[in-house]
Symmetry: C2
Subunit: 400 residues, 2 copies
Amino acid sequence: MVKIAILGYGTVGSGVFEVVRRNRNAITNKIGEEIEVKYVLDLKTFEDDPVMEVLTSNYDDIINDDEVKIVCETMGGVKPAYEFTKRALESGKSVCTSNKELVEKHGPKLLKIAKANNCSYLFEASVGGGIPIIRPLRTSLAQEEILSITGILNGTTNYILTKMETEGLAFEDVLKRAQEKGYAERNPDADILGFDACRKIAILTSLAYGKNVDYADILTEGITAVTGTDFAYAKKMGATIKLFAKSLKKDGKYYALVAPFMVTSENPLYAVNGVFNAILLNCNMGGETMYYGKGAGKLATASAVVADVLDCAKHIGKNLDTKWDEEKLEISPVDSAVRRFFVRVLGNDLAGIQKIFGEVELYDGVAEGECGFVTGEMSEAEYRQRAAEAGNVITMIRMD
Amino acid sequence: MVKIAILGYGTVGSGVFEVVRRNRNAITNKIGEEIEVKYVLDLKTFEDDPVMEVLTSNYDDIINDDEVKIVCETMGGVKPAYEFTKRALESGKSVCTSNKELVEKHGPKLLKIAKANNCSYLFEASVGGGIPIIRPLRTSLAQEEILSITGILNGTTNYILTKMETEGLAFEDVLKRAQEKGYAERNPDADILGFDACRKIAILTSLAYGKNVDYADILTEGITAVTGTDFAYAKKMGATIKLFAKSLKKDGKYYALVAPFMVTSENPLYAVNGVFNAILLNCNMGGETMYYGKGAGKLATASAVVADVLDCAKHIGKNLDTKWDEEKLEISPVDSAVRRFFVRVLGNDLAGIQKIFGEVELYDGVAEGECGFVTGEMSEAEYRQRAAEAGNVITMIRMD
């Protein structure tokens, strides 16, 4: 019997409580140990909820109870989650969390504290919700050099883009519907401006290379500028538009970026629709692997937290080491990243376009008074220079 | 420094040697230990190959060397792989393998021996090549009840079906080309008749439920009967045809089947083309997750073996427990499995069809003298009875 505590009885915390109870038999059968929730920490009370039997509002009850070996931090935010996590780890209790903000901000520090105290800090649920991606990176792919990571890491924006594509709706209209359905927050900025995806790619990239990526170093563009006309071009090109969170290693340099991309059907991420998330990894030995599933949602996220709990339960008194040093991983300026660009310009003067951008593939007749084209490979800096020279660019979307 | 031995310097074995050498730095960096290949066992010699420095033809060299903690069994087949594996485990050396035949046949027995000797028997590479699926089942999804597994587990047949679809070629022609390209064996029966996929779904199902599935209990149909006309219907239906290896738990009963299925674009497996493999799991908490990648190939498969090596290296002297008992998992007869069926019949007598099959969706005009339709839900037994009554069925493909 392994006893655990849950910090915060919100969406994810109550989900953890539910997963542990409903799948008690499956869990005991699989790991040969029973998991019991001894405490749930919350300041609120929850009438007629079985949680009342284990509810406490005093964190000391948990910290001072030597029977509690594992703490699930499902509070979110940095304060007081950081202090609570630190205290748990310092008293030798492993911490499993879904809190991507805290992981992104203090991951390496908390991992170090865990190691020093022979316990673990695990955060499978912080990226990709119910999709196993953190543990595969740490275990199944430990023998690989990760060449690139491309993720659809935010369900809200993927839902919006999918609806824009399939129902021909404008961004604002879909956002409104998504808010009504609870797929988007009332303040949707963290999602639609790309910050949520940015935190997640910062975490994945740090894990892939073992050093710390500062998410402020990652150029982040959201989806607010994507229009129905862009999708009309995409359709003509046999492509779609996805918000990609990408990082890659090339010639010893590291690049990272969050932005809308034109994605053709050859990319396995092309078919990832609605609120689903997926992560495509390219490794130097095993090649491409992709991981797909629900990127959010109470039970999917809670399930990932519980997976971490079971891992800790099998390793009581031991540190499950995650390589993520405090040393900074230098992200190269996006200027030097080389790729192709989809560009929409006023008019349809092919000769003029080719004079500036070189040989291009032209898409005409999609919208009045303009045309679109795909450039050859060039650096971002070079693209920007040429776009300024052209002076008639309506919009640009990077090609995958 | 952890010393390992490789049994067999064929495709996978030489791949393991290569992965360990080429990714030496990445590995040491990630797990904090260097991995060194101390022996490679093979009866042949390999001039001008660095393997010559560590080559031996005497298995006793390996068994009697206490420095060797991990053995990679990449010989394939049951003899002498079974004896070699058993001896290694009995002397406390962990074994990592790509040998699906041996795993399917003797998995539970070898796992028991490993446990008794405080070492591990790991076989990530036996299913899905470079796709992490065995370890996620054992760790990331240990808290889940697996409701169903649907896999595209054989690259050869998926390549053939993809080519039939995209190039409109006949089965025999694509098979011939696949053989020329080395994507299909000279004797392709194990692939095209579904036996390879059957072994793999037997392994996955055993792991999902912790008891032993006998692969002889799984109804297995290959792809040899699939024709261009079937694909013409699929196209009309917005679907494609995939060889699915499926198992599921329903009302406390277990079902398993390998057969071609009509797959619509809503299924994430729809877009898995060419030699790629993918596994879609449905779990009672986290919902659907999918794992995608190269199902075969030297380096992808070898990479999965090395992932297991690193896991063993981090747990020397400890058993990594895999729940897979010798007790038999009863597979219910497919007769009682309920689903919809795509059926092609001679003629296009809708009234006659509906009299026998009930309300159907009709597809006419695809091929001369026949029509196709999709039935409502019924059991396999019921379908067979009605098909016999109709007397004019050309072919049937199960609907996903």
